[in-house]
Symmetry: C2
Subunit: 403 residues, 2 copies
């Protein structure tokens, strides 16, 4: 039997496809520190489960396709705090940020259409784009430039008559970059000049460090009718397994079109929405504590990385990832080796090989994405194991390439 080209050409998730190696390591009795996936160990605010436990209905019924009004209203309140003013019709609750991103691509792009995206980018963008036959066109950014954007002229060169949108994660996954206001105004200029959408993946909005000022694409007034924001509670409230996100836009006709997609899949889970309402009522101090905790984790990771000869890694300013260049020829082989053939006192580390975060062939082969989502002592221990692994690795080369 034949399969579709769209699926055979799709890469497996670089974050998840090596999971069988991790499972095998665990089956052998090894402990695996998971730096490969953005799964925080932060406790989910207890209101989530408490409110679900109080659910009184005796039928677990469909909810509205756009999401429950309780949740939509809680989200509207939340965005007010960022000076983003919305009405109910501007927002649809989705199955995580994942579905929001898929909806944004389907609403704006036909097969063969192109979306610009700074690389390295969140690898699952590939899956969402391939599955609906949208071409991601990379704007290469570089570790040594802190993964900031190239000049406007270089971005303009990538735009063709098929370009429909420019897609950002900001704060950046996997790079940790925070775009400056100047960069965002440049993007706004381009979007207006070229009449394209801006799809802003802002799921890490609260994860900004060193007192940097964060601007949402929702704050750029002149872009109002062309900005689509993709969001999620997964990271904000450490509720990845709730799969609650949203898509929002002040372009009402866009939201009306997107409602067709939402109606097709009927609704998102009813109970998870009940829990999510409680999360959005969590005191702000929770998010401040979480921010402090991640900043401290980042500091540990960076100081430990700097002790590793041959590793190149800029300090990330946001999200909870870093892309590190490793002194190996192929990071995927190294990650597999760490799981299969290496341990320190029966413990090892899993990372995500970064090649899958690039669209340009060959880029990122010696890079890995590390998520600093574990508590300080675990993270510290994981980094020590990584250091030992790099020292022991037979495929080690002298230093990472200085791309």
């Amino acid at each position: 039997m034949k399969f579709s080209k769209r699926i055979t050409s799709m890469q497996s998730s670089p974050i998840r496809r090596l999971v069988p190696y991790a499972e095998a390591a665990k089956a052998e009795g090894k402990k695996v520190y998971h730096l490969n996936i953005g799964q925080p160990d932060i406790v989910t605010p207890p209101g989530f489960l408490e409110s679900i436990k109080k659910f009184a209905g005796d039928v677990i019924a469909y909810s509205a396709s756009h999401g429950s009004y309780e949740l939509i209203d809680a989200m509207i309140d939340y965005y007010k705090g960022f000076d983003i003013n919305l009405e109910r019709k501007n927002l649809i609750v989705t199955n995580g940020g994942s579905e929001a991103l898929s909806f944004a691509l389907m609403a704006t792009c036909d097969p063969g259409d192109e979306v610009l995206v700074p690389e390295p980018f969140y690898a699952n963008y590939n899956a969402f784009a391939s599955s609906v036959n949208v071409k991601l066109v990379p704007i290469t950014t570089r570790a040594r430039e802190g993964f900031h954007l190239p000049p406007k002229a270089e971005i303009l060169k990538k735009i063709t008559p098929l370009t429909r949108a420019i897609l950002f994660s900001n704060p950046g996954n996997p790079t940790g970059v925070i775009y400056t206001r100047e960069e965002m105004e440049m993007i706004a200029d381009i979007a207006l000049e070229k009449d394209i959408y801006v799809i802003a993946d802002e799921v890490y909005r609260e994860f900004v460090y060193d007192g940097l000022k964060y601007t949402s694409f929702g704050n750029i007034k002149r872009l109002e009718d062309r900005v689509i924001i993709v969001d999620s509670i997964s990271k904000r409230y450490s509720a990845c397994g709730a799969r609650i996100g949203c898509i929002l836009s002040r372009n009402e006709e866009l939201m009306a079109q997107t409602m067709k997609l939402a109606q097709g899949r009927l609704c998102v889970p009813t109970l998870e929405q009940v829990g999510a309402v409680a999360l959005y009522k969590t005191p702000k101090s929770y998010l401040e504590e979480v921010n402090k905790e991640y900043q401290a984790r980042r500091d540990i990771l960076i100081s430990k990385v700097r002790e590793m000869p041959g590793v190149i890694c800029e300090e990330p300013k946001g999200a909870f990832y870093v892309v590190a260049k490793l002194p190996v020829d192929d990071a995927e082989k190294f990650v597999i080796w760490m799981l299969k053939d290496f341990h320190v006192d029966n413990e090892t580390v899993m990372m995500a090989p970064a090649e899958g975060f690039y669209a340009t062939p060959g880029l990122g082969r010696d890079e890995a994405r590390l998520a600093y989502v574990l508590k300080k002592e675990d993270l510290s221990r994981a980094m020590d194991i990584l250091k030992a692994g790099l020292e022991a690795y037979p495929g080690r080369i002298k230093s990472a390439s200085n791309f």
Copy 2:
């Protein structure tokens, strides 16, 4: 701003797009009997909520992309009862049957490819197909033939080099048809001769009445490598709002390809899977009781429909829907009129206009889908209101067309 053609050409869900009229009616103080949507009023087995309440983790974390093994194993056990023998690699847990259907289309079809489907069909197939640029090619079936399939030669005429699959809901939504073993063997012949997939939507597997024997496409041995089954707990356990379904196939390479899609969206909600495990452990007597209840509801609906002059409606043998031809020129106008301008003692009825369940233009305009998902007294009352509405409707014609 422009939108994609795929989304502008998509119809709104005929099941959900009239919801604003229902909301307006309720805002005026009217009670609305919902026969438009397959939302049963049957109590969800309490194990669902009880097991979620016992969830002990303090982080709502991602689960595995293929679903939790507890749930997969519970599903494997369930299918054994239907003589469908699976291993873990044959099954992926999905966000309802909706996502399973989308996955099946994406894994088998590229843009422009065609999928045959008997019409009338579940209207949201249109949304899933349009969103990934797959063309649904209808095989027209007729009320007066109990919505059974036309002869083989007529189906073969619809097959082109672009045909990749034939899609069934069996028991049929919206028709209530149960395909005979002979019909299924005919489809098997066609699938093998033409080298196409069979996508079998069997979410109503337990809803078969009058002692009819039900055969799953999973029971046709010679089709093993080309059958994809789409399933869901929504109707089986009255847990529509849990959004738990699955896609399964004995074609291992197909499942491996489909895992890329599952990994892209990370996972389905963790807690809902915990609840679903409990549902699959519900004693069989629950499903037998539910079957009896629906058969009784169907009997009430049919006997009431037969009291309505000019309405044509065959007795459905499965699922919990019926397509009725109404003595009106446009069922959608009639449904809106019922919500806006009609009531009996401040109560009215909502149905789903059936035109959206057909792909052939013009068909189904005078038809509506009625879901018999309400308890007997409510259903009976709703049917009396419908009868009164048809009598009072200014757009009434003498009799439905005998298509």
